[in-house]
């Protein structure tokens, strides 16, 4: 071990050498500290299949109201429980009121009739395809967010890729090291005195599964403790729930400049087969959490939003026609949000395919006119300066640029 490393450890006052583990992460963390503000991509995955037609409502397409007699959201007008006009054709669900001011500031762009082109209506297959970045191909070994990390940028930090949650989502899983934690504060042993014994016992376990698991755990805890002092507390008020918790932690890590590049958060509960509701109800409650979460994140970041682009996606949209249970079933085209400082927002992008029976996808769903990879590839190229997009989205070529980023 060389002298400079020794002196760094000494000055940091850490006893991590107790078990002879190489402190490479400290060297990397120390390197990250010198780097400035990097660009960050945040992906919010909405598991279950969001009903995009009731999120950004095509109120001028009269077929919309005919297809959805009990769950349609009323067109914009004065009064409560009405959709919020965006451009004279589309309107925002009233539960997303928190996003309107960001849209007006032109830092929120919307892409309609977007999503994954595979025609699977299985949650598992569709989520897998979207997360692997290879619609129709299940055997892809890693997620597309992980492949983004395959390209080295100026900062080499153990926090380059992070998911908030107990498990690594498929989108972030792969060869590049990433972290998955539920909470920065709670990612520690509640009885710290047990740490040395537990670490040792896992490190020398003859059970390979647990030896690896234990090593990852103690490694991650050490990494987090090494930068903890830099992480500012949060004052923004996020909605209760997993998304709010996730976005709050991501915002803190962005502000701490620890080298975060790719972050993942998720929100469940979009599978509205029964009693979906219209302006109020089940879907509205999910949208309230989503909209308030994104708005809190935007406000929390302040001028750091300039370095951040957040993209939302869901595995598929839902049927254009409401079903017999006042809900909707698994469909196709959907809505994506792109939020950030350098976003050319205040506009709904994408060609509207229409809702007439003859233009519905497979006779029942909103068709897809923008592949989600077109949106993501554009964000990666323009915001993250990703050079080799063909490694992130193999055998995909974006038809043309949407122009959603400045």
């Amino acid at each position: 071990m060389d002298g400079s490393r020794r002196s760094f450890l000494k000055s940091a006052g850490m006893g991590v050498l107790a078990f002879g583990l190489p402190p490479t992460f400290l060297v990397r963390a120390a390197g990250a500290e010198q780097e400035g503000r990097g660009k960050v991509l945040v992906v919010v995955f909405q598991r279950g299949g969001m009903d995009g037609l009731n999120v950004v409502i095509p109120f001028k397409d009269r077929a919309y109201y005919a297809l959805r007699p009990s769950i349609a959201v009323a067109e914009p007008a004065s009064g409560e429980q009405r959709a919020i006009d965006l451009d004279g054709f589309y309107a925002l669900h009233p539960a997303l009121a928190g996003l309107k001011s960001i849209y007006d500031k032109k830092q929120l762009a919307i892409i309609h009739a977007a999503g994954s082109p595979d025609n699977s209506r299985s949650h598992f297959d569709s989520q897998d395809y979207m997360e692997l970045g290879t619609p129709g191909i299940k055997s892809t070994p890693d997620g597309w967010l992980n492949r983004c990390l395959g390209e080295k940028r100026s900062v080499d930090s153990p926090f380059r890729g992070l998911a908030v949650g107990p498990q690594t989502p498929r989108m972030l899983a792969g060869a590049a090291p990433t972290l998955s934690i539920s909470s920065i504060e709670e990612f520690r042993l509640r009885n710290a005195a047990m740490a040395p014994a537990l670490h040792k016992l896992y490190a020398s376990s003859t059970d390979p599964l647990f030896r690896r698991g234990g090593n990852s755990l103690f490694d991650a805890m050490e990494k987090l403790r090494a930068i903890e002092a830099k992480i500012p507390p949060s004052t923004a008020s996020y909605p209760v729930g997993r998304l709010g918790v996730g976005l709050k932690q991501i915002a803190r890590l962005i502000k701490a400049d620890v080298g975060l590049e790719i972050a993942f958060a998720e929100i469940e509960g979009w599978d509205t087969h029964v009693a979906e509701g219209g302006a109020t109800g089940q879907l509205a409650n999910r949208l309230k959490e989503l909209g308030d979460g994104l708005a809190a994140f935007y406000q929390d970041l302040g001028d750091r939003i300039e370095d951040v682009v957040l993209v939302t996606m869901s595995e598929f949209g839902r049927t254009a026609r409401e079903n017999g249970n006042r809900g909707t079933d698994h469909g196709h085209g959907n809505v994506m949000f792109v939020l950030g400082g350098r976003v050319r927002g205040g506009k709904v992008y994408g060609r509207w395919p229409g809702l007439a029976p003859e233009v519905l996808y497979e006779g029942r769903d909103l068709d897809l006119t923008t592949d989600y990879r077109t949106v993501c590839a554009e964000v990666l190229a323009r915001h993250m300066a990703q050079r080799e997009l063909s490694k992130v989205f193999p055998s995909f070529r974006a038809p043309s640029s949407l122009g959603i980023l400045v």
Binding site: P166, I181, N191, L201
Partner: protein, 173 residues
Amino acid sequence: MSDQPPAALVNRAAEAFRRSDGDIRTVVRMIVESPEFSSPEVYQAKVKKPLEFAASALRVTNAETKVTLQLLRYLGRMGEPLFLAQPPTGYPDVGASWISPDMLLTRMNFAADLVSNRLDGARVQPSALGDTQAFIRLIAPDSLSAATRQALAETDDRQAAALLLAAPEFQRR
């Protein structure tokens, strides 16, 4: 039995399923009575699911238990929110799904909270943890690694109980 059961047994089970016209009782009996089922290779081959882990920790410490929000939260953080499996196929059934760093940490914290009586709804009598050797005989009479034995020798009885419950050996069944 195992995340990778022997192919020959899987084939026999499939055969039993077909021959009995899908009678699950017949299939289970065939598996349980097979020599593979009691072979040393499958001893503790399965990782306990969070509910199995929590229940076995509560039982082995003879804890008086009530279901509380904290207990349910622990199960959720370990990856098995009770009755709330999102996918219709249920909770995963292979070990690797249950030991992400966050889930493993949650098991360790559960063990520490339980033995120090900081787990809301569970009360452990000191007498249940009094004798580490007796506790070892209860938990893992013949599968404790040298590393675990050494770690236990260096600690007091209460902490030894927490270590035992958090150790790799106790995570398997």
